[in-house]
Every structure is written in C-alpha cells, then in structure tokens.
C-alpha cells in the first residue's frame, strides 16, 4: 500500500459517495452540493493520472461554470422559498437493477480485459504545453469546431432564455 494507493482510494471514495448522494438524495440542494464534491473528487483523480491541466480545467469549468449554472437553474425553477426542495423518483427498482447490472458488467469487462496492465514509467511533466500544441496542430479542426459550438451554444442559450416570449 503506497501513498498513491491510499490517496487514490480516498478520492475514489469521495467521488463515489458523492455520486450516490447526488443520485439518491431527495433534496435537490443536497444533490447539487454533492455534485460539487463529486467534481472535486474527479479532479483529484485526474491529478493522480498526471492530467494536471485537466484537473484545473475540470474544477474551473465544471464547478465554476456548470454547477453554478445548475444552481441557478434550481433556484429559478423552483417556487419554494426554503432550502428544502423535495423531489420524487421514477421506476426506481428496474433502474436500480439495471444500474447494478451495468456496473457489474462493465466492471467485469474491464477487469477481464485490462487487469494486467502495468504501470508505465513516466516522467512527471506538465501537460499544458503539450496539450496546447496538440490542440493547435493535430486537433485544430476539432478545436475550431468546438469554438463554433460554443458560439452557437452561447447565442442559442441567450436567445432561448430571452424574456419577451409570447406563449
């Protein structure tokens, strides 16, 4: 048991437990904040995987952008004044079974296929520079397309949520 393993298990636990809370909680706010912790856990896992830039990006965008957005959405779409916002579930049992099955299948699949992958010798290096170069060279087109997508999303979101709308 090395430090690496312990840290891994810690972050994995955070992620998964938060995930459970997100999914199984009755309270939207609790779900939202657990999602926060999930994102953080995932970011930690990224760091362990030598993806430093991505870890930070994850925190910045997911937590700072998407989660805030979700919170805004929660606030805007619920008429409740207090924090206690309840919500119900939909055919829980079949989905539970299905989720268990999927998890089990995938795990089994992963285990059977890649259980013997070794650890490659790696040199710790920052990935930012390399990622930037990759984005500008090999992945230029996807990059441009992604920016167009963002633009479209921006315009679309702005347009869709404008106020003056006759129903």
């Amino acid at each position: 048991m090395q430090l690496f393993d312990i840290v891994f298990y810690a972050f994995a636990l955070i992620t998964i437990v938060s995930g459970f809370v997100v999914v199984f909680s009755r309270n939207i706010i609790y779900s939202a904040f657990s999602l926060l912790f999930t994102f953080f856990g995932v970011a930690g896992l990224y760091v362990l995987l030598h993806a430093d830039f991505l870890a930070v990006t994850q925190v910045l965008i997911y937590v700072g952008g998407i989660l805030v957005l979700l919170l805004f959405g929660i606030m805007l779409t619920n008429r409740a004044v207090n924090v206690e916002i309840k919500t119900g579930t939909l055919h829980a049992v079949p989905a539970l079974i299905l989720a268990a099955v999927v998890a089990g299948t995938l795990s089994g699949l992963f285990y059977s296929t890649w259980s013997d992958e070794g650890t490659p010798a790696s040199t710790l290096q920052t990935t930012t520079r390399t990622l930037g170069e990759l984005l500008m060279t090999s992945y230029l087109l996807p990059f441009e397309v992604a920016s167009v997508v963002l633009l479209v999303a921006l315009i679309g979101a702005a347009w869709t949520s404008r106020r003056s709308r006759k129903i």
Binding site: V22, V42, A51, F53, L54, Y62, L90, T127, V149, G156
Partner: protein
C-alpha cells in the same frame, strides 16, 4: 470464500488501470441511474454530468496507462467543452419549460405523448 476474500484484498493495493476503470464504471452507472430515475429536469442534468465525468475518467485513465499518450486528455478537454455548452443550452431549455409549464417535473411535461 476465504480464497475470494484473499484474492479481493490482494487486488486492492497495487492501483492500476483497472481500478480507475472500475471507478468510472460505478460512476457511470450511478449517473445512468440518476438520468433514468429522477423526475426533476435539473437532476437529470446532474446525472448526465456524472456520466460525462465517468467517461472523462475513462479517457484519462487510458491516456495514462493505456498507451494513448495525450490524445485521451485532448478528448477529455473536448468533452468538458461540450459538456459546458450542452449544460448551458439544457438549462435554457429547462427555463423555457418552467416558463411554459410552471413545473420542471418532466413527468408532467408530456404533451407529445400519444
């Protein structure tokens, strides 16, 4: 039973690719459960985010252990980008739905059914 436990516990320490994959699998199924189960639209979106995160973990794990070099991370970047865009649009739509139906309970937003 004894052997099984011993096997299980011997598998724990040396963290490799498969451990990350299993985490991602669990997360994925959790997220899927959330999508499928939840009635509130926002919570469905949260489930969706979980799924996407699980996929990201997968990508990056393979990028580190699976010989993808940094292509996996690039993919993960794009996933994040698109997740963000999609979350924005989705929320805009949810707001519209709320405006229209006075509720975000997707059960009740069923004018297209039948």
């Amino acid at each position: 039973m004894d052997v099984f436990l011993k096997g299980f516990f011997s598998w724990l320490p040396n963290v490799q690719l498969v451990h990350f994959l299993i985490v991602s699998a669990i997360l994925f199924s959790l997220g899927m459960y959330g999508i499928v189960t939840r009635k509130n639209a926002i919570l469905v979106l949260m489930g969706l985010e979980l799924v996407l995160n699980a996929a990201n973990i997968n990508f990056i794990a393979f990028s580190r252990y699976g010989g993808l070099n940094l292509d996996g991370q690039v993919a993960a970047i794009f996933v994040i980008i698109l997740a963000a865009a999609e979350a924005a649009i989705a929320l805009a739509i949810v707001l519209n739905i709320y405006h229209r139906f006075q509720t975000v309970n997707i059960d009740e937003v069923s004018n297209l059914k039948e």
